[in-house]
């Protein structure tokens, strides 16, 4: 079938591929530019001489960030956070989505529950009451403050509800008639065929956990407890702040010898992005490969 594409088809293909290629380049170029900035010397950066290739290449920004035990420590905390946080999040999400997706079952209170969820998603009491709540629950200054409050993501639940609804009803009925409990149906029938949506929310949830920095800084006392993004954020902003408010000749004069605030910021972004670049292709095959529902149907 692939061999006998018509001429017009080929032209459409060519246009398609060209557009996609241009789009991809437009997205990658700034990223490469940022990478080049993080590797270039201060003068070249200031003079805007850096394009897609570093000028006066050096690794001081990276060395500055890496040469520090707190960095390694916080990297570990971030990894742990993603693993634990995403696992718990997935579990809560599918368990919550299942009953909400069984529309045909008579279940009083379900609509109210959905409204409550939506309300909870849209309204927030702000930082201070939240802080007090975490204190009352004994979560402040513990690792779990990064995990438990984020376990329920309503947006993800809605995505999964919609996916579950799309699973053929016959499948559900067959399982129930076979005597499977709801939990069994969920974990033995639904989960195995929900990989695209699970991959989607795994991606969203990983990115969310990996990139969160505010909760670490605000709810955890010392930098040794912080995940990577909190640590890097405060490190870079502290330096930027010192530089911008020009509090000291030492800062103004000396930081520029080694790492620059801008250089650090760009290096930080890249370091923080690399793990995502590793995880993304692993999840990607679920978006790229079409799901064969035929095998389920039998």
């Amino acid at each position: 079938m692939a061999g006998k594409a018509s001429l017009s088809d080929r032209i459409v293909d060519a246009i398609l591929y060209t557009i996609l290629l241009i789009l991809a380049l437009a997205c990658v170029a700034p990223f490469i530019h940022v990478a080049a900035l993080s590797l270039s010397n201060q003068a070249a950066v200031a003079a805007r001489q850096v394009g897609l290739w570093p000028v006066g290449m050096h690794f001081q920004n990276y060395l500055f960030i890496m040469a520090d035990r707190l960095f390694i420590n916080s990297f570990g905390i971030s990894l742990l956070r993603v693993v634990v946080g995403v696992s718990l999040g997935l579990l809560v999400t599918v368990i919550t989505a299942y009953p909400l997706s069984r529309d045909h079952l008579y279940m009083p209170g379900r609509t109210i529950f959905k409204l409550l969820m939506l309300f909870g998603m849209m309204f927030s009491g702000g930082l201070i009451p939240y802080f007090l709540a975490l204190r009352d629950l004994g979560l402040l200054n513990t690792f779990w403050v990064l995990i438990i409050p984020l376990a329920l993501n309503i947006f993800n639940v809605i995505l999964v509800i919609n996916f579950f609804r799309g699973i053929p009803q016959e499948l559900w009925e067959a399982a129930v008639l076979d005597g499977a409990s709801h939990l069994q149906v969920l974990f033995q029938v639904f989960i195995p065929i929900s990989k695209p949506v699970l991959a989607t929310i795994t991606l969203f949830s990983s990115v969310m956990h990996w990139n969160s920095w505010f909760d670490g800084v605000i709810f955890l006392k010392e930098a040794v407890q912080w995940p990577l993004q909190s640590y890097l954020y405060s490190k870079v902003t502290t330096r930027m702040l010192q530089w911008q408010t020009a509090v000291s000749a030492e800062v103004a004069g000396q930081t520029f010898q080694e790492a620059t605030p801008e250089g650090l910021a760009t290096a930080m972004i890249l370091i923080a992005t690399i793990p995502i670049l590793i995880v993304y292709p692993l999840l990607q095959r679920y978006f790229v490969t079409g799901l064969t529902l035929g095998s389920i149907k039998e």
Binding site: A24, A26, C27, M121, M122, F123, Y130, A133, G166, K297
Partner: protein, 328 residues
Amino acid sequence: MTELIRTSPSVLLAEKTARATTTRRPPFRVILKQHWMLYAMLLPALILLALFHFYPIWGVLIAFKDYSPVKGILDSPWVGLDNFRRFFESQNAWPIIRNTLFIAIGKIFFVQLAALVFALMLNEVRIRIFKRAIQTATTLPHFLSWVIIGGIMVQILSTTGVVNRVIGLLGIAPIRFLGRPDIFPWTLIFSEVWKEFGFAAVIYLAALTAINPELYEAAAVDGAGRFGRLFHITLPGIRPTIVLMACLSLGSVLNAGFEQVLVLYNPVVYRTGDIIDTFVFRVGLVGQGGMPDYGLGAAVGLLKSGIGFFLILLSYWLADRFANYRIF
């Protein structure tokens, strides 16, 4: 063709969500026996909602108080709707609301549209390596924060920047993308599209995978062309996802992107670039000692949440009523 669609599982996805086609309940005995488990499954979410969303919700009181962190929320004096009044009586309140709506709706529309079109285009690609590479590449800008990308964007869009050099080749005089009040909102919208379309496409790509490949094969046998397949199989297949995303994004019609505006705007374009969040931010700056205007911030936040909540419910109702979709 039509028969094919009716029996295809992927289309059931759409149909089963519609109330009209909800059919055949299992025997009542089955429901009753297993009812308790459904409720039990909602318990973790209920507890999390109660603890982390509803327990701290009393903070919305700040919107009705002259809040001082020193006094605390409960002891700060009530001011009724004064915070709201201060917002609406500001000289710029209406221009700011108009700017916010324009920019936010423009972003929602064009980001989702670009993501959808991109996902559909990618769906046509059959070289798997190419597909993956393109997809990874377009996701990258999402991970660059506006704080970082802002400076680069300003350079790219300057009168001597890359964009102006490219359109200069076409004989067009340099355009002040960041220095013309009439153009600036579009600059915001399209730079957001560039940054987010790849990541936003993930949901559509996931939805596309759920379409049964047999349908395409059958359509090919029927002699349907590329566009026939697009309009008769692909689009109907992901229609629920499109409606869902459109509906959910209505919740953010008043979020025009604080960080982005902050790094890209300048005094020349205040008139069209100023949004609600930058306004609240600037009011906070007036307070020496870095204390934000909590009352105003909370009032505006509450307003934004309320309007978003209302719009989501409205769109839910509309979709349910007129298109027979149940969104969640």
